[in-house]
Amino acid sequence: MSAVPVNRSYEPAAPGAIGDLAAGEEAAVAADLRHSTRRRRIWTWAARIGTLVIIMGGWQLLTSAKIVDPFFWGQPSGIVKQLGNWAQHGTQYGSIWEQIWVTFKEAVLGFVFGVAAGIIAGVLLGMFQFLADVASPYIKVANAIPRIALGSLFTVALGLGTPSKVALAAVLVFFVVFFNAFQGVREVDQNLLANARVLGASKLAIIRHVVVPSALTWIIASLHVAFGMAIIGAIVGEFLGAQKGLGLVIASSQNNFNPNGVFAAILIIAVLALTAEALIGLLERRLLSWRPRSQANAAAA
């Protein structure tokens, strides 16, 4: 051991130099960083609000000055008036809250059925190659047809009530979720499957513990798009024939040459969609909490 030469040429820097720097300046650097982060956030918000003011103000001014015709393009003040009017006196089909509830219910039901069917079909076809081979041409055809047109069929077959809208929303949601679930199942690490099999897992246990959790990243990514699809399905279903709902309110506003009514309904739908989006975001964070922070952030962005 003693024969091994030891290199002693390395001398550390003057002791304390680094420590002194750290004590005083670290706090200053941290404060500086906090300060610049806050300033940046304030500017971002200022710019956002500025953008809104310019668009809305410009719209209001242009229509007031009759450069743009408010009869065709509506007016922000008119939209606010329309919303107030609905809140006070309701629409011609009953209270505005009832219209919102009807559309929301249709969209959520369609979403739930579509997601459930999409996951089940995706996992089954992903797991069993034979099923996938048999079904693949039909799925391609079904994906190629304009599914929104199925709304006409559902309206005739299922009537003017909720079921026809739920069916249309579910069909639109199904394909989005199905393709993601299918792909997710196909991407499962073969090592994980082999390992589970050797450990004695049954087919069902493999699906539950390995396949579904692994595909969940893909499935959840599709839910954001899927809820938008569900709302589109509900609204279009109501266009095609309904007795209640925001889609009906939009259609009747259109027939009455009331662009403010159309915009007001669109605004309400946007609020609905954003609320649902936030809820899905919460679900995502809960279900995928195991993911490394950076990956989760990238998905959220």
């Binding site: 082999a194 099999r197 450990l199 004695g200 959790p213 995928l288």
Partner: protein, 296 residues
Amino acid sequence: MASTFAKRSRTGRGVRERSGAAQAARIELSGVTKRFATPSGSLFTAVRDVDMTIEPGKFCAVVGPSGCGKSTTLTMVSGLDRPSAGTVSVGGKPVDGITAGTSFMFQSDALLPWKTVLDNVALGPVFRGAPKKEAQAQAREWVRRVHLAGFENHHPHQLSGGMRKRVSLAAALINEPSILLMDEPFGALDVQTKAMMSNELLGLWEQTRPSVIFVTHDLEEAIALADQVVVMTVGPGTVKAVYDIDLPRPRGAVQEIRFDPRFLELHHHIWESLREEVERAYARTAKPASANGGRS
């Protein structure tokens, strides 16, 4: 470290009841050939006429050049794949379906990233139908045995490569397998971590004594760990030679046994045999490159 393990094994529960299971774990391959259909439709022979016997409780290392079908041999013993010809039998019975009492350790760790360390280790008992509480209690004990107490609720991505390997090891051993199949399990680790893991593996193996087939590229690792080293030829692989490693057990730290004169003698001897195969494998892959070089 090995001596503390040996001590624990004497007091540890269930060592005797497991030795009964180990009796059934004689692994026998006779005339095993495996062919795969390539995407172009032709046949590719991975292994050819492999004859191999591993006695119960023996540690067998398989070395050979890349692509000689070492991994294929393992998957056939585990029952994940069938031989095209010949028979694989475990405990006298031909392998049909997943071989009971087997655990597999892969080069890339097969941990579920969405489960915690504890839940990953508990998978074995859970898959066998144990109640969750019981499985977790068992898993807790195994997490402790691989020195990861305190990390039960971490997820795999929060651990270092060596720690993940220890989780894999616990997950593989919790079912108290009579056969442990390892496919270059420490291949991706740095040299120091690899040595630590080898020590840990030996310690745990000496407690429960499953039959082991350990596939590796590393001849030193093979000799340090095994009772028997099988050298395979370049692909289609077949058994070239089998060497008995008569180094006494418990062997102690693998880093130190490398300086043992008997170790060096064995290494020299087996390397003579392995080198030919490695050179032949290299010549195959190197040919097109040299032809290219000549042209340009």
